[in-house]
């Protein structure tokens, strides 16, 4: 029972630089009871995918933003408790589905897609079985308007509007079989009929509100990053021959925006240095067994490099610093970010090992393994990707020996680590004799913001980092 005052559910702020989020899934529908702190919906932002708990207990009276839609932080997504929405609900919603929808839609299933230009085969039947919005009496709403959970899910997955599907269930309800047949029928139609069907199948089936001018966020939204709304819009050009269109995920849009903004912000310069890793290779070979057996963690080369980097950063606070509002920020701590590719290969995330200056080699190896695993399994919390002060990216796993990474804003630099390869290398004996030896060599790059860091400083940083790695002793942790 809806009692008391309504509580608004708003798009949460999932990190300082996040200005919007996409609703990926409603776990409750209008009319459902929800408990405080029970998961109400799932959202996707350019930082993390996460669940949003309900701020209060009560009945979900209204769902104002359908699945697939991207809205600004602070936008009201749903209301809990209070009076059930009356007929003016649609008008009151900040992002109304379709102004011409006369009847308030009590169900939050992806509703009201853009009118399909040419609905596939079953269209006539659909029109016939379509609900008559003029009769809001009980019998009607109980039949066609009700969408069962499985139908809602399938509709969401395929971007189909259930009200367009001819229903054969009780009171004309759309059954699971109906919607599956509808989808199958759509896919079996001829090539020409197929294109509009695919346009409808874009992951934001809900009628996109005309891309209303967003309340200018701090970071300008680049025009180059189309929102799903424009993808699903009718005006979207059809793909050319041999092309397919795929909407950008929230994460992909976030990456696109961030990379462009970083290049527009920082004066990127890259310096590289060759490091003789033979000592590290030897030490790692000795401690690997112990680490794995006693602690269950693999002491990766990355952990060694990270450990040496943190020590070196202490002597070069600008490299661990930031330009903020015309002032230079330096720190007594290092929050070390690591670029991690997602398991599906469709994105990149930079989780952060906090207070890396407090970690020895074992702690660093464990910290990296932990965040990398959680990043791949999408279990990161918003805090895990916030607050980085320096980043390491490791494309060397694929054998590359050089690169020019882009700085993660608002940091001042990013270290790139590359493949360790055995090379003939000139070494000088203690008595001054030169000889050619086979050494395990690795390149490191430091890409830095020349506004803050000069080339000489970067060079000294890389020199010291190299020195630490080349002289790594067995007892160094």
């Amino acid at each position: 029972m809806a009692t008391g005052t309504a509580v608004d559910v708003v798009m949460p702020q999932m990190g300082v630089s996040v200005s919007e989020g996409t609703i990926t899934k409603w776990l409750k529908q209008a009319g459902d009871q929800v408990e405080a702190d029970e998961t109400l919906l799932e959202i996707s932002t350019d930082k993390v995918d996460t669940e949003v708990p309900s701020p209060a207990s009560g009945v979900v009276t209204e769902i104002l933003v359908p699945e697939g839609q991207t809205v600004d932080v602070g936008t009201v997504l749903a209301r809990i408790g209070g009076e059930a929405p009356a007929a003016e609900t649609a008008a009151a919603a900040p992002a109304p589905p379709e102004p011409q929808g006369e009847r308030p839609e009590p169900d939050a299933a992806p509703s009201e897609p853009a009118p399909a230009p040419a609905a596939p085969e079953p269209a006539p039947a659909a029109a016939q079985a379509a609900p008559t919005p003029a009769e809001p009496d009980d019998a009607t709403t109980n039949g066609k308007a009700f969408v069962s959970p499985v139908v809602a899910r399938i509709a969401g997955e395929h971007g189909v509007d259930p009200s367009k599907v001819p229903g054969t269930g009780t009171g004309g309800r759309v059954t699971k079989r109906d919607i599956l047949a509808f989808i199958e029928g759509g896919e079996q139609t001829s090539i020409t009929a197929r294109e509009p069907a695919e346009a409808v199948a874009a992951p934001a089936p809900a009628a996109p509100p005309p891309p209303a001018a967003p309340p200018a966020p701090a970071a300008p939204v680049p025009a180059a990053a189309p929102t799903p709304a424009t993808v699903a819009g009718q005006e979207q050009a059809a793909p050319g021959a041999g092309e397919t269109l795929e909407p950008m995920s929230a994460m992909r849009r976030g990456i696109a925006e961030h990379m462009r903004r970083s290049l527009d912000t920082s004066a990127h310069v890259t310096s590289a240095i060759e490091v003789d890793m033979t000592n590290v290779v030897g030490v790692r070979g000795k401690v690997k067994r112990e680490f794995e057996q006693a602690y269950g963690v693999n002491p990766t080369y990355l952990a060694f490099v990270a450990r040496a980097t943190v020590d070196t950063l202490r002597d070069y606070p600008y490299v661990n610093g930031e330009l903020r509002d015309g002032q230079i920020v330096t720190r007594t701590y290092v929050n070390l970010g690591f670029a991690v590719e997602l398991a599906d290969g469709k994105g990149l995330i930079v989780p952060v090992v906090k207070n890396a200056e407090t970690l020895n080699l074992l702690g660093m190896a464990k910290g990296i393994a932990d965040i990398a695993a959680r990043a791949r399994n999408k279990q990161l919390l918003p805090d895990d990707v916030a607050g980085g002060t320096f980043t390491i990216t490791n494309p060397g796993g694929y054998g590359t020996f050089h690169g020019t990474p882009v700085i993660s804003q608002p940091q001042a630099a990013i270290l790139g680590t590359y493949a360790i390869v055995k090379r003939p290398w000139v070494i000088t004996d203690h008595d001054g004799t030169d000889s050619i030896a086979i050494r395990s060599m690795m390149n490191l790059t430091l890409t830095y913001d020349h506004r803050l860091i000069d080339g000489a400083l970067a060079g000294r940083f890389l020199r010291d980092l190299r020195e630490r790695l080349q002289t790594w002793g067995e007892s160094d942790y």
Partner: protein, 321 residues
């Protein structure tokens, strides 16, 4: 493979285990000289002697107490209640002592309690009940309810092997009515694993015991493809098998002969709602006996126990929903 009745299969499994394992013994009212009220242990006393086939006094409390003590001392008692209904007399030993023992002090309590249960023959309120849900609710006890001769033999052997007290609900209506091929050799059927009695795509019936056959007959009268999941064990129950079937058909009918309120069907329906909500295309339905004692009058008993027609009606409504 020889063909056996449900009753013969239980008897066969029990006899094989007694021959194989000297720790196994039988205790109950009239199980020895008379061979048991339903003749499951006919001939056992001749073969195994009166020390291993014990005629107990008319006291379920004594039978259960004796079985608990014997199990604690390392034996493997198979105790028979003449009718499942009488197990209430043994409640304290079973629920307070036997069920808790393994969790309290870690000692195994390998008791099998054979419980002839179910109605359909005008047995009246004291000889017809299906009290499985009362015991499924007691942590520490396991409850199995086989429906076929093959499962009855495999499950009685699993129950004897199990370190926990296992309540073996054998449906009296199936004793001589159901026949099937049963392997001659020793085998086990895992406790807690369901069996797909009949595969289908349009709706699922989750049931156990004699109701498996009611569901089977009903589904043959419905113009749809019905999947029948025979749980075989009520505790632990095979949640995965049920959820898998629900994900396939999206429509579920839970059917049991026990009374409705607090019956085990409620647990199954609630689990489906919690874990497969997004796969449902219709509300989960239950068909069970009404919340009354089992009536004696044949006409009333027929109205009480879910009949094929009831299930047909329920399935039709579900399929058409």
């Amino acid at each position: 493979m020889p063909e056996m009745t449900y009753l013969q299969a239980i008897s066969d499994g029990l006899r094989q285990e007694m021959r194989r394992d000297k720790r196994v013994f039988v205790i109950g009212e009239d199980v020895g000289v008379y061979g048991g009220a339903f003749k499951v242990t006919l001939g056992f006393q001749e073969e195994f002697g009166s020390w291993r086939v014990i005629d107990a006094p008319l006291s379920e409390t004594a039978i259960m107490g004796g079985a608990t003590g014997a199990a604690l001392m390392g034996l493997r008692p198979v105790a028979e209640m003449q009718f499942a209904d009488f197990v209430s007399c043994a409640w304290d030993h079973l629920v307070t002592v036997a069920a808790k023992q393994r969790w309290r002090v870690g000692t195994p309590v390998p008791i099998v309690l054979r419980l002839p249960s179910g109605g359909g023959f005008s047995g009246g309120p004291f000889h017809s009940q299906n009290p499985e849900s009362s015991f499924a609710h007691i942590p520490g006890l396991k409850c199995v309810c086989p429906s076929t001769p093959e499962d009855a033999k495999g499950l009685i052997i699993s129950a004897i092997e199990d370190p926990s007290p296992v309540l073996f609900f054998e449906h009296k209506h199936l004793y001589r009515r159901i026949k099937g091929e049963v392997p001659e050799e020793r085998y086990t059927v895992p406790i807690g694993k369901a069996r797909i009695h009949h595969e289908g795509t349009d709706a699922t019936v989750v049931t156990w015991g004699a109701m498996v056959y009611t569901a089977e007959e009903a589904s043959s009268q419905v113009d749809a493809s019905i999947e029948i999941v025979d749980l075989r064990s009520v505790m632990p129950w095979d949640k995965q098998a049920v959820l898998d079937s629900v994900r396939k058909t999206s429509k579920v009918l839970v059917l049991h002969e026990d009374t409705r309120t607090g019956g085990f069907g409620g647990e199954i329906a609630a689990t489906i709602a919690e874990e497969a909500f997004e796969d449902l295309d219709a509300p989960v339905r239950r068909i069970a006996a009404p919340d009354t004692p089992v009536p004696f009058s044949p006409a009333l008993e027929k109205a009480f126990i879910p009949q094929v027609d009831d299930v047909v009606r329920g399935l039709r409504e579900l399929v058409e929903y």
